[in-house]
Each structure stands twice: as structure tokens, then as C-alpha cells.
């Protein structure tokens, strides 16, 4: 570590965020590798180190002798300032070499409001924002992650984007870069070759033209790039080993525990949920493979807590077997298990017992909407009976706090649905006090957390406008008035943050200058309340002549060409439209494991998704 770096570290909070050296982190001789990859997470170390995707790719890339993958995170405000003051360029934690020294710099796009952090990181690394301004001496800047499904607002900044799952795709891109360098190809020539890899999107090879009213006229590919890019997918999850060596953070990460990914995708088809559509079809891993990987991971990391992660863990067809397998080794190894995202409708008695054999924390449910009608609209297949049954089980088992997640601003929503949120919480409170087996002498606490609905690309609700901020404000007030019990607490998200999220989620390439300008005027860490400067954003839009409502609050026609029209996640547009229509009639769709609704994603597998018998 240089004297400058030590001086900076002496001046900041939590210097451990910036040092690397954690158990499990990989060091290599940089002269003995063919490709150096900097994996960048555009948020804090604590957030990034919780992210499973980084752990998966870190292990896969570093398993190769010819590649060294290192990590970089967005420095917190104090460190950013120190680095700027002392002229320390953004470096990767392992080697402490600046990002410019790398062959490839890869960002993961997890959240629209971290886009300005990407610019901040490039800026700190002294790398020009626009791909067109970067010469041959600059690293190839790439992106992956869910927001790549409409990365158009960032299209001008990235050389290459990767749609879908990176386990096989990213090494293929690295190989093409290594090979291209050996042959002395130019960056453009290398990128053109990469365009042939599954799921690879080279934004500069696509020309977008616009209609006078601002909508998109056409998107044209050139130089042999595919007209439509289809995401990469692991067809059989059992062929893809789980990571068994995590870098174990020393300052607590948000999720500081072992994680095993039990399945990918989700069978549910909630119409608001982008992840549910991006990761189709749902694919599971076998119970024995999971249990064994979990055991190895705990052995290698020393973690004493393991979580079974996925979008919907309790939909795993062998869940009980898996829990039984894991219970054969977790107690003696002093490891406790946690199951996030438990679903109400299959939270069985024995499941309650198995999880209560480990730590007892609060119970969380996500009904998402306050009335059955609206739950049918969004296809959240949860009924009051199920909530009642599960809460009763849980109260019997000694739970005393329940957290309920809802959304506001959903399509077709009325004030009656808002009142339904308060009623649902009230009925949970009543249920507790009516239960003869409730824990003695303890009260119940029910907290309602309400997010603002953000319509997202590649979902049936991509067509709908976001509720205006005025309307959301009214609904929030109405909810507060509707809550009568002191046992119920209400919290909700900042609607202005959700508005900006909607703008960038459905945005197009014309938003790039706004990102640059907002960053220049001091916007970064937008997702952090205390650093969110809404007024600055509005000024930027006004000064650049951009109407943010055009992106957030406008109905998109079913025949309109969306900015993400050429990015294919396996689900057909026809299907999205069908689901959109069903939503308007409050008609539900069955989960994939019960009946196929014909979304088209089975083509990615080359056969049916499930074996229906």
C-alpha cells in the first residue's frame, strides 16, 4: 500500500472496505495471466459483497490459470473525496492496480439508481464515459446483470453488454478477447467477434432512429450483429457447480452468510415482477448437490449461517428432502439455516418445524396488494385463507412479529385497494389475539412496508404508465388514515426515487447525457435517501429538454417499438400482451409447474420446462 493510500485510509470511516485481503480472496502473478478482469459493483462494499452473482463469477474466472479477476466497489462519499484530493485512481482491491491497467472492466447492473455510481467509478478511474471516446489503450468496458434487459440509457458508455446468465458466456467473451489480442485485432474487431456469442449485445452495432413524437422508429443492427439478441442460459442447473469458496468480508456485509442457489427463475408469473420474467424458465438443482455444496462452502468459509437463496425457495420440488439432508450436518457443524422468500401458500406445518429448529426471526409475507381483486390483477396467487392459515401456524410456533410487503400504484388500483392494505394488517392483528396458543404475555407487531410500483420492461406491465407522484402521495395519506391499530406500523418508499427508477427502467439512449450531467452536478448514490437530490435531477431534465414523464407516465402502445425490443429474454411479446389483457380482467394465470401458459421461454431449453404428469 502506498503512503497516499494509507493516508486516505486513515481519514475515512470503515477503511476495511478499501483494503481487500479477506479470507478467500485470490492473488495471482499479473505477469503470468493473459487477461485481467476487474469486477465492479456500483454500490458500497457491504452491498456488493452480499451479491451472489459476483461470487459465482469470481470463482469461475479465477479457476482459470490465464485469468485474474479482482473486485472494485463504489467508494463511500468520504473515500471518494480523499481519492480525488490525493489523486488516487480507483483501484481493484486485490492488486491495488488502477482499473485502467485491466484488460476488461465489468459492471453489474442491479439497480437503475446505481447508474450514476458507474459514472463516478469510471471518473475515479480516469476512464472516459463514452465508449466512442476510449482508445485502444483503454480496457474493454462491459456490463451484465438484470438491468441489461434495458441498458439503453447506458448503451453509449459500454463496449459490450451480456444478456442472461454469465457462467458460460463471460468466459467465452474473455476467450474471444484473449484470442483477439493474440492476433493483434483492434477493439472494434474483437467486439464484432464477441457479437456472435450467445447473449452478447454490442450497443455500438445498433442504430436507433426516432419518430417526430419521440417514440422509436427502428433499431437496426449492422456488421453481422444479430437483429435480436437472445439471452444466454444454463439449460440444466445440475451441470453448473455452485461456488464453494466465497471471499468472506471482514466488515459485515448486508448478507454476511453462506448462500446456496437452490433454483433459478420462478414459476409464479407475478405480473409486476421483472426477475420472474427475466430468469425464465425455472430450473432447479438436485437436493444432494445443494446440500453437499453447502457443506463444502461452510467448511471453506467458516460461516455459521447458510441461506437457501432463490426467487422462490419454497417452490423447490424437493425442499423437504433438501432440508432433511442439510439437517444431517448443520447442527454438528454449528451452522444455522435460513430460508428467505418463504411463500404463504406452501408454508406447511413440517416446514415451520424445520425452520424453527434453527433461529426464530420475524415472519415476512408479501401479499403485494390489499384486495383479492388486485392480487388477481397482478397474479399474486395469495388468498386471505392462506395468510390466515400460515399466520396461525406461525403464531402457534411462537412468532410474534409479522412484516407485510405491499405495493402502491398498481394498475387498476382504487382507494378501496389501499384500504384493503390496512384491513389485511388489522386482520392479522385480530388473528393473533384470537389465537389461544399465542405466546404468553406478548403482543404482536405487524409492520406494513409499501413500495411504489415501478413498471418494468419485459413484464406484462411494461405498457402501463407509472402512477403520478401526486396520486401516490394521496394514496399514502389515505393508507395512514385507514390504519387504526397501534400494533401496526407503516413505512413506505420515497416516491421520487421510484419515479426516477421508472424513467431509467424504461428509458432509451437519449438519457445518457442526463446521466452525465446529473453526475457532473453532484448526483451519485441516488439510491441512498441521504444522497438523493431530486431537484437536481429535475433541473437536469429541464435544462437538457428531456421530459421524464415521457418515459415514466406514458402508456406504451402494444404495437410500439420499445427501446428493448431487440433484447430477447425468451418470453414473447405476444405473451406479455396476453397477460396484460388478462390482468385488466383480473384473470389469473397458473404457475408454470402446474400448467404451461405458453410464454415461449421453453424454446431456450429446446423442450418443455416441466414434466407434467
Amino acid at each position: 500500500m502506498t503512503q497516499e493510500l494509507r493516508a486516505a485510509l486513515a481519514a475515512v470511516q470503515k477503511p476495511g472496505r478499501y483494503t481487500g485481503g479477506e479470507p478467500g480472496c485470490v492473488y495471482k502473478d499479473k505477469d503470468k495471466v493473459d487477461l485481467r478482469f476487474a469486477f465492479c459493483f456500483p454500490d458500497t462494499y457491504e452491498v456488493g459483497m452480499s451479491f451472489l452473482g459476483m461470487k459465482i463469477l469470481y470463482e469461475i474466472l479465477n479457476a482459470r490459470e490465464d485469468i485474474w479477476c479482482e473486485r472494485a466497489f463504489m467508494p463511500w462519499v468520504d473515500m471518494k473525496e480523499e481519492m480525488e484530493k490525493r489523486g488516487i485512481p480507483l483501484y481493484a482491491l486485490e492488486s491495488k492496480d488502477e482499473l485502467r491497467a485491466f484488460d476488461m472492466v465489468g459492471f453489474t447492473l442491479q439497480y437503475e439508481l446505481s447508474y450514476t455510481n458507474i459514472l463516478a467509478m469510471l471518473d475515479l478511474a480516469h476512464i472516459p464515459f463514452y465508449a466512442a471516446e476510449r482508445g485502444e489503450d483503454m480496457p474493454i468496458i462491459v456490463a451484465g446483470g438484470p438491468c441489461v434487459c434495458n441498458g439503453e440509457p447506458l448503451a453509449d458508455f459500454f463496449d459490450l453488454m451480456m444478456l442472461g446468465e454469465g457462467e458460460v458466456q463471460l468466459p467465452a467473451v474473455c476467450d474471444t478477447v484473449i484470442q483477439g489480442r493474440k492476433e493483434g485485432l483492434s477493439k472494434q474487431e474483437i467486439l464484432r467477434r464477441c457479437a456472435q456469442i450467445e447473449g452478447v449485445y454490442i450497443p455500438s452495432l445498433y442504430d436507433v432512429s426516432y419518430l417526430p413524437d419521440g417514440r422509436i422508429q427502428s433499431v437496426q443492427s449492422r456488421d453481422g450483429a444479430p437483429a435480436v439478441v437472445t439471452k444466454a442460459i444454463i439449460r440444466d442447473m445440475n451441470t453448473q457447480p455452485l461456488p464453494t469458496h466465497f471471499v468472506v468480508p471482514m466488515i459485515g456485509a448486508v448478507h454476511d452468510r453462506a448462500q446456496i442457489e437452490v433454483l433459478r427463475g420462478c414459476v409464479r408469473g407475478c405480473r409486476f415482477c421483472q426477475a420472474g420474467f427475466l430468469y425464465r424458465p425455472m430450473r432447479e438443482r438436485n437436493a444432494d448437490m445443494l446440500s453437499e455444496a453447502g457443506r463444502q462452502l461452510c467448511e471453506n468459509t467458516g460461516y455459521d449461517e447458510i441461506s437457501l437463496t432463490s426467487l422462490s425457495t419454497s417452490d423447490h420440488s424437493q425442499l423437504e428432502t433438501l432440508l432433511d439432508d442439510m439437517l444431517t450436518w448443520t447442527p454438528e457443524e454449528h451452522v444455522s439455516m435460513s430460508l428467505p422468500s418463504l411463500r404463504i401458500d406452501n408454508f406447511s406445518q413440517s416446514l415451520v418445524e424445520k425452520t424453527t429448529r434453527v433461529r426464530k426471526s420475524g415472519l415476512t409475507f408479501a401479499p403485494e396488494a390489499g384486495t383479492q381483486r388486485l392480487r388477481d390483477v397482478i397474479n399474486k396467487n395469495v388468498t386471505w385463507d392462506e395468510i390466515e392459515r400460515t399466520c396461525t401456524l406461525a403464531f402457534n410456533a411462537g412468532y410474534t412479529s409479522v412484516k407485510l410487503y405491499f405495493m402502491m400504484g398498481l394498475p387498476t388500483e382504487t382507494m378501496e385497494d389501499i384500504e384493503g392494505i390496512a384491513e389485511t394488517a388489522q386482520r392479522v392483528v385480530d388473528l393473533y389475539y384470537k389465537n389461544p396458543n399465542k405466546p404468553k404475555g406478548k403482543g404482536v407487531s405487524v409492520s406494513i412496508s409499501v413500495a411504489c410500483f415501478v413498471p418494468k420492461p419485459h413484464t406484462p406491465f411494461q405498457f402501463v404508465p407509472q402512477d403520478t407522484m401526486e396520486s401516490l402521495h394521496e394514496k399514502q395519506q389515505h393508507l395512514l388514515r385507514s390504519v387504526k391499530s397501534r400494533k401496526i406500523s407503516v413505512s413506505y418508499h420515497d416516491k421520487r426515487i421510484s419515479f426516477l427508477e421508472a424513467v431509467f427502467a424504461k428509458g432509451d439512449r437519449r438519457l445518457a447525457p442526463a446521466l452525465c450531467e446529473a453526475y457532473r452536478r453532484g448526483c451519485f448514490f441516488d439510491g441512498w435517501d441521504e444522497h438523493f437530490h431530486f431537484d437536481t435531477w429535475m433541473e437536469v431534465f429541464r435544462d437538457l429538454g428531456i421530459d421524464p414523464a415521457f418515459y415514466a407516465n406514458r402508456t406504451i402502445g402494444e404495437d410500439e417499438i420499445t427501446p428493448w425490443e431487440h433484447l430477447d429474454y425468451g418470453v414473447t411479446k405476444d405473451y406479455l400482451i396476453r397477460e396484460y389483457h388478462k390482468a385488466q380482467q383480473a384473470k389469473t394465470t397458473q404457475p408454470c409447474n402446474r400448467a404451461c401458459a405458453g410464454c415461449g421461454a421453453n424454446h431456450l431449453l429446446g423442450g418443455p420446462c416441466f414434466d407434467y404428469r
Binding site: 485510509l9 476495511g16 478499501y18 479477506e22 480472496c25 471482514m250
Partner: protein, 218 residues
């Protein structure tokens, strides 16, 4: 059951691990190492351990120690040191593990090497000679609740001060342990004011801990 003591170094990156985090790091490393450590009983079993005279953030050391319990009195502790090192982060190396003979309350003194890089060496030497020549050097020592003014000169026992190719190196003994601890940063902060050392970031390395009668503790 016996208590054993692991002596370890904490340098470079590892010098930024706080005591709280260090506890978790050792908890996990001991678990991974397979060394037969004793766990507390109960719902949430954990390894019982104590660190002696922990360092302030950013200071380095080759003389740290942690005590933990084991029921296996005949374990091969030489091998254990190696096993444990492999599970610890960069910058922490276990130098040896052995059964505890002296209680950590016996710690009274620490030896430090304070190094100013070559570009600061001259100024540091100047500051030091001013300090050496002065009759007293009062500084404010912040406790948990109180601020006391103390005379640094009274507590600083200088072993050597020399200019080398690596820079200006000051070797000193300062009180450490339960009764009184003088943070070497008090000394470097004081020197800062004597010869315009504002931008300097001296490396502070603890090389040993001693008992009252100057017997080596670790």
C-alpha cells in the same frame, strides 16, 4: 481444559480490521482450521476468546495475541499455527500457539517502531530532536469520558532513533495494558506539530509486549 495463546502478526491490509471484526474473523478461522476449540454451550454456541491489548485501526503489529480454550491438551500446536494461518486473511500470520503461562493482566509495556518514509525522514529527525531536547511534552489523552493532560516525555522510553535507507525509524517503549495505555499516535501527533509533518503518514509497528519487569509477554 486448557487455555492456549496464539501469537500473531497483523500487518498491511489486516491493520485495518477492527477488534469487533477481528473477533468474527478468528471465530470463522478457528472453525475452519479444524483445531479442537471449545465452544460455549447454549442456543448460539460460539468460541470463547480474548484478545490482549488490541491495536488502534491502521497500526501494525508482529506481537498480537488471542487466547482460546481447548479440551485437547496434547494437540500438535506447531501444526495448528500453520493450519490457522491458512484460514486467516492477508496480513495475519500465526507465529506460534502454546498453552498460556502468564495472564494477560501482566502486560505493562509495548515496543513500537515508528517509520517515516525517506521523503519525510529529515523533518521527522528534526521534530524528534526537538522532542528529545524538551523538558516536557504535554498532550491531551482522551479517555472514554475524560480528557487528561499528560507529559509524554514521562512515559516515552526511547530505545533508538536512526536514519536509514527506509527512512527515519524511532524505536520506543510506551505503557500498554490494563492500567495505562499510551497510544503511539499521541507521540506522532505531537511530532507533527514540531516540524511540519502534517502530510506524513508514519507506519507504526508494534514489535513486542512486555510485563512490568520487562519480560517478553509476546
Amino acid at each position: 481444559m486448557i487455555t492456549v495463546r496464539a501469537r500473531f502478526s497483523k500487518t498491511g491490509e489486516a491493520s485495518y480490521i477492527s477488534l469487533l471484526d477481528l473477533q468474527r474473523v478468528f471465530q470463522r478461522a478457528l472453525k475452519r482450521s479444524g483445531i479442537p476449540v471449545w465452544y460455549t454451550q447454549g442456543f448460539n454456541p460460539h468460541i470463547y476468546m480474548t484478545f490482549s491489548a488490541p491495536l488502534p485501526l491502521g497500526q501494525e503489529s508482529v506481537a498480537e495475541c488471542v487466547d482460546f480454550k481447548t479440551e485437547d491438551e496434547n494437540y500438535d500446536w506447531t501444526a495448528a499455527a500453520q493450519q490457522l494461518s491458512e484460514c486467516l486473511p492477508k496480513g495475519i500470520d500465526v507465529l506460534r500457539i502454546e498453552p498460556v503461562r502468564t495472564d494477560s493482566s501482566a502486560i505493562a509495556l509495548a515496543r513500537y517502531e515508528i517509520t517515516y518514509e525517506p521523503d519525510w525522514a529529515q523533518r521527522a529527525a528534526r521534530a524528534y530532536s526537538t522532542f528529545a531536547a524538551a523538558s516536557s511534552a504535554s498532550v491531551e489523552k482522551k479517555g472514554k469520558r475524560t480528557v487528561k493532560t499528560i507529559d509524554l516525555k514521562q512515559y516515552t522510553d526511547v530505545e533508538s532513533a536512526r536514519e536509514t535507507a527506509d527512512g527515519f525509524i524511532l524505536s520506543v517503549f510506551l505503557p500498554a495494558g490494563g492500567e495505562l495505555t499510551i497510544n503511539p499516535a499521541l507521540l506522532t501527533d505531537y511530532l507533527k506539530g514540531l516540524a511540519d509533518l502534517e502530510g506524513a503518514v508514519p507506519r507504526i509497528l508494534r514489535t513486542a509486549l512486555y510485563t512490568k519487569n520487562k519480560e517478553v509477554f509476546v
